[in-house]
């Protein structure tokens, strides 16, 4: 069911009233589950994720994967609740999409955590998706980072992720061919000229169905990309601005997450 996004070029406001470079509301808490070694709850707009961490603990003997046991193994389990999406549908755990998602979180964390400090041990992350409304991978990665900070697992820097899209009306169109002359740039705080293909930050679920988008994950506020997943067709010339906007978004997400961690730390000190 195609969705009408054509109004964007008139008012430069998105479906939910945001401008092109605005994030959705991010609300996060850490240490939500007392039983877990580390836990977090994260909302990015209407996407809601709970993450718990167990370990690093001695791994199961039988599950020894490779020959190298000099590094910590990371296991990621992702549960998508039946009520998370619009349709009420039970997704099996062997689902390949799910497997890919947890593989992504796992291998992104492997390069961010100091895994060599915990030989012969296993770290288990469990992610529960309570509601999905776009940026699922980004929310999972951000929630995992917060839970790992809570668990006190050493890491090089925050691993933060954010999605970015492009308003290019038809995926196949080369840049600016779909531009409506004279309308681009009205009222926008960005000089777009005749090019109506704007990059967008942090897409919601409806926008994700409609527009090409990618998810970028960076380490801290550097420009180094750890994760980059794009699943929709789009012209190569769109990639640069989408990446730039995504990396910029990651920096802002990092600030927000950092704020959450600091606020939590402050509260802990006050309570003592």
């Amino acid at each position: 069911m195609p969705l009408d996004t054509s109004t964007y070029s008139l008012a430069l406001l998105r479906l939910d009233g945001r401008r092109w470079n605005e994030l959705r509301r991010i609300h996060a808490q850490i240490s939500t589950q007392a039983a877990a070694d580390g836990s977090s709850y994260l909302e990015m707009g209407n996407t809601k994720v709970i993450c718990t961490v167990a370990g690093p603990a001695e791994g199961r003997r039988g599950a020894v994967g490779g020959g190298s046991q000099s590094e910590m193994r990371i296991e990621v389990e992702i549960n998508i609740a039946g009520f998370a999406g619009v349709e009420r549908k039970k997704r099996s755990r062997a689902d390949r999409r799910n497997a890919e998602l947890s593989h992504t979180v796992q291998s992104a964390l492997e390069s961010t955590l100091l895994t060599h400090l915990y030989p012969h041990s296993t770290l288990t992350l469990t992610l529960h998706i309570l509601a999905q409304d776009g940026a699922l991978l980004a929310a999972c990665i951000n929630a995992a980072t917060l839970a790992l900070v809570d668990a006190g697992v050493p890491m090089y820097d925050y691993l933060v992720a954010c999605s970015a899209g492009s308003t290019s009306a038809s995926a196949a169109a080369p840049p600016s061919s779909s531009a409506i002359p004279g309308l681009g740039g009205i009222g926008g705080n960005r000089s777009v000229g005749a090019d109506a293909d704007d990059p967008l930050l942090d897409l919601n679920g409806l926008e994700e169905q409609e527009l090409p988008y990618l998810t970028v994950g960076t380490q801290g506020d550097s420009d180094k990309v750890v994760v980059c997943v794009m699943e929709t067709r789009c012209h190569a010339s769109r990639l640069e601005e989408m990446l730039a906007v995504g990396i910029d978004g990651c920096k802002r997400v990092r600030e927000i997450l950092d704020g959450v961690v600091r606020a939590h730390g402050k509260k802990m000190i006050e309570n003592e």
Partner: protein, 292 residues
């Protein structure tokens, strides 16, 4: 428990040292593919791709079934992957390992989600009958570059495949066998191909089409799927060491060149095969009669 023959420390160090000295073990330049060899089978829709020592066979087949109730106007297109234990000690029957999940997901995104195959053209009667096209991917030998090789094989096989012709009169559907009527090629909208980039030495060395040994040593990989028109169908960097964003952009531009060259090769092979099948111009004569 069988598992991948892991590289010894000596091999790892040697490989990395060689890369530092700008040498690949097989003497290739950093940005070239291994020798690609594409063969077609006797039947339509069988493609056999050899990429160095990696070998993949794809078979496309189809039959007539009812469409999914929520997609009445679309045919069905499925891709299945099978990793045979003869390809590598790490593969086991009935237990998909991580690389199998990744391969099938990448192909799913690269070919199905980017709608390379027009599934609407597979519909015969809306909501009642449609073609179900199925592509079986068999990995026969594994020496790295599975995603790239599988994608070449799959695209070639889909392009080579011919489905039986059908006519619809009201509710009656007649499916003509290959003997009765010249079969019809599938409607391909574009031809996405994958190029895998491997990063070594914290991003200083970038290799195209890594061998199995190089894959075991690499720090991170980026799989880019593009078509020859310069559209990106999919990018996957699942983790690994951080790389510069600029490097991702150079990947896409270099992938475009590779994809165009690969597609040209596939097309040449398809033409060659078509010529072989059309011995004596018999088919041209037949189809001319049909047109009248």
């Amino acid at each position: 428990m069988p598992r991948e023959a892991e590289l010894s420390l000596n091999e790892r160090e040697f490989l990395l040292q060689a890369l530092r000295e700008n040498v690949r073990l097989d003497g290739r330049p950093f940005d070239t593919f291994r020798n690609v060899e594409l063969k077609f089978g006797e039947e339509y829709g069988v493609a056999d791709v050899q990429l160095g020592k990696t070998r993949i066979v794809v078979r496309v087949s189809c039959d007539v079934t009812a469409p999914y109730p929520d997609r009445k106007f679309d045919g069905i297109f499925n891709i299945t992957t099978e990793f045979s234990p003869m390809a590598s000690p790490a593969f086991e029957v009935g237990r998909p390992n991580e690389s199998e999940v990744i391969l099938s997901r990448i192909l799913e995104k690269a070919i199905r989600r980017s709608s390379a195959l027009d599934t609407e053209s597979l519909c015969i009667i809306a909501g009642q009958k449609c073609f179900a096209v199925r592509a079986d991917i068999h990995v026969l030998d594994h020496d790295g570059g599975l995603v790239d090789a599988a994608c070449i094989a799959l695209i070639a096989a889909l392009q080579h495949f011919r489905r039986p012709d059908v006519t619809v009169e009201g509710e009656n559907v007649t499916v003509y066998s290959l003997r009765e009527r010249e079969p019809v090629p599938l409607a391909m909208l574009h031809h996405p191909l994958c190029v895998t980039f491997s990063y070594f030495h914290s991003g200083e060395v970038v290799l195209v089409d890594a061998t199995l040994a190089e894959e075991q040593v690499r720090e991170s990989e980026v799989i880019v799927t593009m078509n020859r028109h310069g559209e990106i169908c999919q990018i996957a960097k699942y983790g690994g060491s951080p790389i510069d964003a600029v490097s991702l952009l150079t990947c896409t531009s270099s992938a475009l060149g590779k994809v165009q060259a690969l597609w040209k090769y596939i097309q040449e092979k398809l033409d060659e095969d078509a010529k072989k099948r059309d011995a004596g111009g018999l088919m041209a004569e037949l189809s001319a009669e049909n047109a009248r």
